[in-house]
């Protein structure tokens, strides 16, 4: 649980972050989204005190962050940035081991953790542990950067545009993987991005920032259905907001009881994808199946369309 209370940062007369108060629930992903210069990165960097606040405070799991020396505080918080920031003179394994080493883990534990993370991030330890960052592709470098942030099993992870330098296909995969790994470890993540689609894809909650203020901090669907400010509507776009809304609900969540009929779709598919399938095939109903392949309900065209309207 991260409590951000009345946090303000001023440089001279310019107020970069202006009395921001948000609360990030344990084990959730909060995405801070805004245009460049909105103060989102400064807000993130005040959480691990890379930037010292002018006023206000940050409380992580009940402890005020100012009670600890900054470098010790940071060792307990994962940190991943755009352009990965890998150390070019250290191997992949050494990069990932950075924080565990600072924390004084023993060699066997570090080695085991590095292998585990490389496997989780789909990099064969035998092939990649001894490689240097420049020998990897951009997507692989980014995965190592994120793996490094997870290395010391932090309860809280801060990410600043972690996927900004990736091409769209690799980025979508990296986002899905992050979501899975976050669920697996139960990590509390605060992620900064300027990409509203990324915010909707990843965020349990999304904070929209403009000119140093948080305009709205809510679930993604709420930002679409009842935006508190015209800026938010401009950011989310109104042209395809129904489709965006559909993409926030999965087939499993929306499935209705009824006889199995028509083609099958996985429960993890979004309603947007199911609708697209129905339009393409001309069918009016599909059967939803869970991960084991067992039918768990059905979806009709009318049922899906109802999810695309504010209720």
């Amino acid at each position: 649980m991260i409590e951000i209370e009345n946090l303000t940062k001023q440089y001279g007369s310019a107020t970069v972050v202006d009395r921001v108060s948000i609360s990030v629930p344990r084990g959730s992903i909060t995405v801070i989204v805004g245009t460049s210069g909105s103060g989102k990165s400064t807000l993130l960097r005040m959480i691990n005190r890379l930037v010292e606040p002018t006023s206000g405070r940050v409380v992580i799991n009940g402890i005020d962050t100012t009670t600890e020396p900054p470098h010790l505080l940071r060792r307990g918080i994962g940190y991943a940035i755009q352009g990965h920031g890998l150390f070019p003179h250290r191997t992949v394994a050494e990069n990932i081991a950075t924080v565990p080493r600072l924390l004084g883990w023993n060699g066997a534990r570090i080695q085991g953790r590095v292998r585990e993370l490389l496997n989780i991030f789909q990099l064969d330890p035998g092939a990649y542990a001894a490689k240097f960052p420049h020998q990897l592709s951009g997507g692989q470098q980014q995965r190592v950067g994120v793996a490094r942030a997870f290395a010391a099993e932090p309860a809280v992870l801060l990410m600043d545009e972690p996927f900004g330098a990736l091409d769209p296909i690799i980025r979508a995969k990296a986002q899905d993987d992050l979501r899975d790994i976050q669920r697996r470890f139960g990590t509390t993540i605060v992620l900064v991005t300027h990409d509203i689609d990324e915010a909707f894809r990843l965020g349990d909650r999304v904070a929209v920032m403009s000119q140093g203020r948080v305009l709205q901090y809510d679930r993604p669907a709420a930002l679409l259905i009842c935006p508190s400010d015209p800026f938010i509507s401009r950011l989310t776009g109104t042209g395809d907001r129904a489709m965006k809304l559909l993409s926030l609900t999965t087939a499993g969540e929306a499935a209705e009881a009824g006889p199995a009929e028509g083609a099958t779709v996985p429960a993890s598919a979004t309603l947007r994808d199911v609708l697209s399938d129905l339009l393409w095939s001309g069918a009016a109903v599909v059967t939803v199946i869970d991960a084991a392949g067992t039918p768990c309900g059905r979806l009709t065209l009318a049922g899906i369309l109802a999810h695309g309207r504010p209720r």
């Binding site: 940035i81 352009g83 920031g85 890998l86 150390f87 003179h89 490094r148």
Partner: protein, 389 residues
């Protein structure tokens, strides 16, 4: 491959140029010069008067073959072998000329290599260097070449092959002082560079961290760099002399207005700019993302400096050290003028006595020393660059 025209009759341009220059030098300039004693002007001697005809023709034949190889051959190995054979031939010829021209037991006459010897040696040296460059050897191989070359030069000098040449005559006379001045020269160059590294690297780090200091520091060091070396030695003599006169314990430490103290101090001052500037550039090139990630993961400022920044900047800093080491090996020559010793002693004594052989006795080791240091440190920089990327 640099060629004038393609196909089977391709001619190598550098080879053509070097062959032409070498040929012109052989025709127009003396190969060997004879002097009745060390300070009278010499007179050239023709090789045809010194050796049997077939020996001279064989010598020219070898040079012609080397030139033909330089003109036509595309294989760098063959070109290198030809250049080395040429260097051996020229060296053997000049050594033999020394033996023939020196009457038995006579220590007064001087036999010097003439202008065409030096031109040929330079042309062959360039041919060899070009061939080595085309071979693209790694740093270890380059150091191996240097060691082999030094060993061969040492063996030739020790064999007595060149003992009747004027430079070796000067060496015989000055043998005991030669070793001493060699040590002193190395001490002046290495001592000043070591002291400069100890001061300049922290100064560079400070300038990197505090950008406001940068312009002022670099400006001041630039100003020092513009003072001519002889003037700087002179400028430092006065305050050091006054210091020594005022405080006897300073004199006890060996610091006086003349001698090694002002020389090392001046060389130290000249060394600061390249090392400070390269430290700033090296640290500036370190990826800001890596430093931000390091800080964000909880490395302390000291850990960021020693584990990340300095390691990544090291090749650039080492390049700065290489520049000042080679520079100071040259500049230390002038230090002989204020009594600091070193190879410059022979150079300036030779100039005063118009004994060009003595000048060479000082100048040739300086060139060899500077060249060796350049090769060694370049190899070191390249090796480190391969590990720190």
């Amino acid at each position: 491959m640099r060629t004038i025209w393609g196909g089977r009759h391709a001619i190598d341009r550098l080879g053509a140029l070097l062959s032409l220059v070498g040929l012109a030098a052989l025709i127009t300039l003396p190969f060997v010069v004879f002097k009745a004693n060390r300070i009278v002007p010499g007179s050239p001697r023709s090789l045809f008067l010194l050796f049997p005809l077939w020996e001279v023709l064989a010598f020219y034949g070898v040079l012609a073959l080397v030139a033909a190889t330089a003109l036509r051959s595309v294989s760098a190995r063959v070109r290198l072998a030809a250049a080395l054979i040429g260097i051996a031939a020229v060296t053997l010829a000049i050594g033999a000329a020394g033996d023939v021209l020196t009457p038995l037991g006579n220590k007064v006459v001087r036999v010097s290599p003439g202008a065409s010897f030096w031109v040929l040696l330079i042309c062959l040296g360039l041919l060899a260097t070009d061939a080595i460059t085309r071979l693209r050897p790694g740093p270890a191989v380059r150091v191996l070449f240097l060691v082999l070359f030094a060993a061969v030069v040492g063996a030739v000098l020790a064999s007595g092959l060149l003992d009747h040449l004027s430079v070796m005559r000067e060496y015989d006379v000055n043998a005991s002082r030669f070793a001493e001045e060699a040590r002193q020269h190395v001490f002046l160059a290495l001592g000043s560079v070591s002291a400069a590294v100890l001061i300049a690297v922290p100064l560079g780090i400070l300038c990197h961290r505090v950008p406001r200091l940068r312009a002022g520091t670099l400006g001041a060091l630039n100003l020092i760099q513009t003072i001519p070396s002889i003037a700087l030695f002179g400028i430092l003599m006065a305050p050091l002399g006054a210091l020594a006169a005022a405080a006897p314990f300073v004199t006890d430490m060996g610091i006086r207005g003349i001698g090694a103290a002002p020389a090392v101090l001046a060389l130290f001052l000249y060394s600061l700019l390249p090392v400070v500037a390269n430290t700033i550039v090296g640290l500036g090139r370190v990826s800001p993302a890596a430093v931000d990630a390091a800080r964000g993961m909880g490395l302390t400022n000291w850990q960021i400096l020693t584990d990340i920044e300095l390691i990544l900047a090291f090749p650039v800093i080492l390049t700065g050290i290489r520049i000042v080491l080679v520079q100071n090996i040259g500049l230390a020559t002038v230090a002989a003028l204020i009594g600091a010793g070193g190879f410059g002693v022979f150079v300036f004594q030779g100039i005063n006595q118009t004994a060009i052989d003595l000048v060479l006795l000082g100048a040739l080791p300086i060139v060899a020393l500077g060249f060796s240091c350049a090769v060694l440190l370049d190899a070191l920089v390249e090796t480190i660059n391969r590990t720190v990327r």
